[in-house]
Symmetry: C2
Subunit: 192 residues, 2 copies
Amino acid sequence: MVTVSTLNEPARAYHHGDLRAALVDAGLAALQDAAIEDLSLRQLAREVGVSATAVYRHFPDKRALLSALADHGVELLAQAQQAAAQAAPPEDRFAATGRAYVRFALANPALFRLIFAYTCASGETVFGNSLAARMLQGHAAERGQSPDDTRRLIVQAWAVVHGLAMLMLDGQLPADDALIDTAINSRTLFGG
Amino acid sequence: MVTVSTLNEPARAYHHGDLRAALVDAGLAALQDAAIEDLSLRQLAREVGVSATAVYRHFPDKRALLSALADHGVELLAQAQQAAAQAAPPEDRFAATGRAYVRFALANPALFRLIFAYTCASGETVFGNSLAARMLQGHAAERGQSPDDTRRLIVQAWAVVHGLAMLMLDGQLPADDALIDTAINSRTLFGG
DNA sequence: CAGTAATGTTTATGGCGTAAACATAGTCTC
DNA sequence: GAGACTATGTTTACGCCATAAACATTACTG
C-alpha cells in the first residue's frame, strides 16, 4: 500500500522512527517552561504526535522517562561546570565551578530539581563517578590539609552551592548574580 | 429528629465541628510518611470521614491546604531551632540552630520540602519576620565585621544548612548525624 | 517469503482536582 | 419560638491523568 506520501508533508508513518529520543527531547523542552509536576505523559505523546500509551513501549512508567531526563540533566550540568572551570584562571576554578552550578540551576530550574528528585531514587548519587565529582575532589584536595579535611571541604562546598541554588529557586533569596559571587567566595568561605 | 446518638459512638453529625483543623491535622499526619505529591484531597477527606468536596468549604483549592500545612511547618521548624539554641551554650548557639535546621529536615522530610515549595508562592520569604530570622541575624551580627559582612554570613550559613539538608533528603549525602556536625562547624566554616 | 519481535493504537479502569446544584443545620431577628 | 439567612455538608458530573490489556502494523530474521 501507500508507504510514503508523495507530497512534501511529514508523511506520518505508523512507526515513528525514534520515539524514545523524541520523547526525551520533548520532555527536556517542556521542562524549560513548566514545572516537573505539570509534565504529563499524555501531553508529551500529543506533542510528538503519537498515541497516549505509545510511551510505554520505551519506558516502563513515568518515573523511567523522568529518570532519563534527569540523566540528561546531570550531563548538561557537568558540561556547564567543566566549561566554567576551563574558562577560569587556575586559582579561581574551585569557585568558578560552584558559580556554574548555581547558574545552571537558575537557568534550568525544573531540570535541576529533576536531577535531585529522580537520580537518588536509582540508588546512585548524582556525582557518582562523574567529571564534576573528580573536579570537586581535585580542588578540595588542593586545599584540604588531610583526607578528613578534604572530605569536609567537599561536603561544605557542595552544600553551599546547592543550598544557594535551592533557596534562590524557591524564592527565598534573590536570584542575583552578585549574591552568587558574594556567597561563593573562597576567601571568606573556609577561611582561605 | 434524633440529633445525637445516645450510644458512646462518635455520633456522625452532618456538620463536622472543625473540619478545617481536622484536615490540617490529617495533612500533617499524612506528610509524616508520604511525599507531597502522594497527598490527595480525596484521601484526606476520606480519612476525616467527609465527602470529597467538603474540603472546598475551607480551602479554595489544594494549594491553599498545602500552604496551611507549610505555615504549620514553618512554626515547627522555628520552634525546633529555638529549643536547640536555648539548650546550647552561648558560643555554640549559631551552630546549634544550624544543626537543628538539618535535623528537622531529616525528621520531617515531606513537611520540610513543603515549606519551601509552598511558602515562596505567596511572595513571602520563609523567614520573613520569624523568630528564626531574628536569631540568625543576631548570631551573624556578632560575627560580622560590617553590615555587608553580616549579610554575607547569613546567606552562607543558611545556604550551608539548607544545602546539607536537601542533599541528605535527596540521598546525595548520607543522612548522618556525624556528618552534620562535621559540616556545620563554625571553626572551619567562615574562618572562625 | 513466512514468522516473529518491535512498535503503535484502541479501549478501559480507577484516581485525581474541581465546579455546580442541592441538603442540612446552626444562628440571628422579630 | 418561627422563619430566614448563612455556613457547612453531600451528590453528581467533567475532564485530566497514569497505566493495563488486547489488537494492529511494521520491521527484521531465517
